[in-house]
């Protein structure tokens, strides 16, 4: 049983404002939270009680959207059968890059497309996730956590804020970029540029779909859409911000190696994911997803 959780980081991280999700319910709680995390002092306390999360790490691969989509759905179906037979299992995480594609969410409208929906310039998928249209492509790290929220918190808003938290921490701790949330606009922002888009589906408290972080993405395909339906803000990437900054970032120096940038961003994403959701990753080969009927 965890009695008290004290955190402190080796390098300090800034406080940020975490906003409650609904003014309609008169919850204008604004908490400036200053947190520091001590991995060492907590690892012994937390490790034994961390939930297991199977990780299919394909972060260096560029996977067709349809393939990853069907992997997610089969993982979700499998976990539903575990729930039906009262078996506890693990959560799952898929990390990858996608081939260029546009995807729509359940409420997406054609108004946010700058092309004829019948003749899209890239493959276009109507998915069952929330949120508006977005672009996925090489240079963008995509995370698909399949989490059973009964083991976290049965609160979709909490889950979305937690996904944002993962990215906010990555951007600051690894790249020295100060990112923020914008109330009412789910995602992670640096200034008025969105670096990470988020859209999820929940079925019996099992989540899927997830987040996409622009690392070294070619952002020009975003011109084909009104990303996430937001007209007066733009899209950015880590690479663009690192190149464009005037002051040298003491934390990170971009040397032009995009592959290395992806690796570093990936390592940080996975680490912060484990911290925010308090899970312990168990790596499994991608062949399990690709060849489910084969004996592994």
């Amino acid at each position: 049983m965890i009695v008290a959780v004290n955190f402190c980081l080796s390098s300090s991280i800034p406080s940020w404002t975490i906003l409650s999700h609904s003014d309609r319910r008169n919850t204008s709680q604004r908490a400036a939270v200053s947190r520091t995390i001590n991995a060492e002092s907590n690892s012994l306390v937390l490790q034994s009680s961390r939930r297991r999360c199977v990780c299919y790490d394909m972060h260096k691969e560029v996977i067709p959207f349809s393939e990853a989509w069907s992997w997610q759905k089969s993982i979700v179906e499998e976990r539903k059968t575990w729930i039906d037979s009262n078996e506890d299992g693990s959560d799952a995480l898929i990390v990858l890059q996608h081939q260029p594609v546009y995807t729509l969410g359940t409420a997406s409208t054609e108004n946010n497309l700058n092309f004829d929906i019948k003749d899209p310039p890239l493959p276009l998928y109507q998915t069952e996730r929330g949120g508006e249209v977005t672009y996925h492509g090489p240079g963008q790290l995509v995370m698909y956590p399949i989490m059973n929220l009964r083991y976290q918190k049965m609160d979709l808003h909490w889950y979305l804020r937690a996904l944002e938290e993962v990215v906010i921490r990555v951007l600051f701790s690894t790249f020295g970029l100060t990112a923020s949330r914008v109330e009412g606009l789910t995602g992670v922002w640096v200034g008025d540029k969105k670096l990470a888009a988020i859209g999820i589906r929940v079925s019996r408290w099992l989540t899927y779909h997830g987040l996409a972080l622009n690392v070294s993405t070619d952002l020009s395909p975003f011109n084909g859409i009104i990303p996430c339906g937001i007209r007066d803000r733009g899209v950015g990437s880590i690479k663009e911000l690192l190149i464009g900054c005037d002051e040298p970032y003491s934390k990170f120096s971009y040397d032009g190696d995009d592959g290395k940038l992806i690796d570093i961003a990936h390592d940080s994403l996975v680490k912060e994911f484990c911290e925010v959701f308090q899970v312990e990753l168990c790596h499994q080969p991608a062949s399990i997803l690709r060849f489910p009927n084969r004996k592994h």
């Binding site: 939270v33 009680s49 969410g105 918190k153 609160d155």
Partner: protein
């Protein structure tokens, strides 16, 4: 269990828990599923929607995915979805049957689910295939207690 305790502590530390009103409203003569749908049984017909507790936790509903009229639904399985804040969630059917009517108004006014979850925000009407299934559902009092227990986690 320990990770849920951590999640609650982290949520309250970060003050990102959604504010839960003391009592979301329940309507007495309805029956309730533990996935927060309500059903109103009239003879062989049933009207289904999501509860005040559910809409309160979801926030503003921006989209409701409706099934086709004539579709078969089974107790406990998904028949549609509601989207709010970039999260689309399944709606599960409290009883089995055949869909005879869907609330088309929700296509242009999904907010009816928030404003009037038990009346104008109804989602589907169906012809029940097994009226005994209602016996496995909760009444308003049990459902209220269920919500209180769930909100503690």
């Amino acid at each position: 269990m320990a990770s849920r305790l951590w999640a609650s502590k982290a949520a309250s530390y970060l003050k990102i828990s959604t504010f839960n009103r003391g009592f979301a409203s329940v309507v007495k003569d309805l029956k309730y599923a533990d996935s927060h749908e309500w059903v109103k049984v009239e003879g062989n017909s049933a009207t289904v929607g999501i509860t005040d507790h559910a809409q309160d936790h979801l926030g503003d509903v921006v989209y409701v995915e409706l099934p086709d009229v004539g579709a078969t639904v089974t107790q406990g399985s998904s028949f549609g979805a509601v989207e709010s804040v970039k999260a689309t969630s399944d709606i599960n059917c409290p009883v089995s049957g055949k869909v005879i009517e869907v609330n088309q108004k929700l296509t242009s006014s999904p907010g009816l689910v928030n404003g009037s979850p038990y009346e104008k925000g109804w989602i589907i009407k169906l012809e029940m295939s097994d009226t005994n299934e209602v016996n496995s559902l909760m009444d308003s009092e049990r459902y209220s207690k269920f919500c209180e227990e769930e909100d503690k986690h």
